[in-house]
Subunit: 213 residues, 2 copies
């Protein structure tokens, strides 16, 4: 059962929306409603839900709670999975603050920074370690995903260490492409690339189509 990249992205968006609707008491939803708020087509929603194997009914649409549960079990079969963040600079701190503000099911369980000054401190509720403790801490907790917010010239080196320490997925904020083994998945959030891309499309055609990331 293989789920394409794009579908995973959209399904995550659906879930976020569904949680809000569920909290607001909505019980059922039609594909065109979900499509409307998320900026995709109803056919796309139906195809996506078909891909993850969820079935609604023509009369009633999809059950909000059931769909959330289905997405959860499809996307997050593991419980209590944690992530780490490496690079407690301005950007890293901003993200720690952001994550601290929401009860995520992917909590940041530890942060690391080269600056030994930061070791031992709590940054927005997250324990900060020196980079030298990286392997030790990762060996204790089984963490598969890391958030990389170090400067560009340190990113490759840190990524290598993370991969050696067993990390299998990276969210890379540094403005470089990482060389990693094929079994490691990397998601690039490249701010300047995004900015330049938007600057390009802001003139000319300008389609409403919009990708998540």
């Amino acid at each position: 059962m293989k789920i394409p990249d794009r579908t995973v992205e959209r399904v995550i968006l659906y879930r976020r929306r569904l949680r809000t609707l569920h909290a607001a008491g909505q019980v059922r939803i039609y594909s065109h409603e979900l499509a409307g708020v998320e900026g995709v087509t109803p056919a796309q929603v139906r195809r996506d839900l078909m891909t993850i194997g969820y079935t609604g009914s023509p009369a009633k649409g999809y059950e909000v709670a059931g769909l959330i549960a289905k997405i959860d079990e499809t996307l997050n079969p593991h419980q209590d999975e944690g992530v780490v963040l490496v690079g407690v600079g301005r950007l890293g701190k901003a993200f720690l603050a952001y994550f601290a503000g929401q009860a995520n099911h992917l909590p940041v369980v530890a942060a690391f920074d080269v600056d030994p000054e930061k070791a031992g401190r709590l940054v927005h509720g997250c324990r900060c370690h020196g980079l030298d403790e990286l392997e030790t801490v990762l060996a204790e907790r089984s963490v598969r995903v890391a958030f990389l917010t170090v400067p560009g010239d340190a990113a490759q080196e840190v990524a290598d260490r993370l991969v050696r320490a067993g990390i299998r997925g990276l969210v890379n904020l540094a403005p470089i492409r990482l060389r990693v083994p094929p079994e490691v998945y990397v998601e690039y959030l490249d701010i300047t690339v995004s900015l330049e891309k938007v600057a390009f499309f802001a003139r000319r055609d300008a389609r409403a189509a919009a990708r998540s990331s």
Copy 2:
């Protein structure tokens, strides 16, 4: 002459790499070299360069300087284009600091925040205004692109104002999909979505394939 989204992303990456190489004195480059460092195939590189209309020579490859110039004229025909940032919270400040550190050809010419306390201040070299001045400042300078780093519950409202004030492209960091007219291009940098996506792909197949954003 229409350039697909994905191609634009990659071409921006090529340019960044080419600038480094150019600064290091490299004069020519083959598709497979460029492909290697950016994690794409040589055929992809050639196709992309064909798309933007740049031609190399089988014997010598591509001229680094000439290719940079071609990309510049393709992607940034306008000179002195500036962007604004809205939302000078932790995340906004982090980005302002990041942008201040590099001589970009897309300088952040102004920042805005609801907090009137911040108005008038310089944040990492960028003038900060109250949100109420948004229309005035945008009317003075012709800015087409905005960086949106406000909390999710304010994002739609701010986006509406930005669009009304003439903004045609948005980089949205808030965790919601924006409703904008079709002529406005939005790029979403959704951190939690990225994280959850990586967490999903970190197990199972785990292809090396990696997208920029």
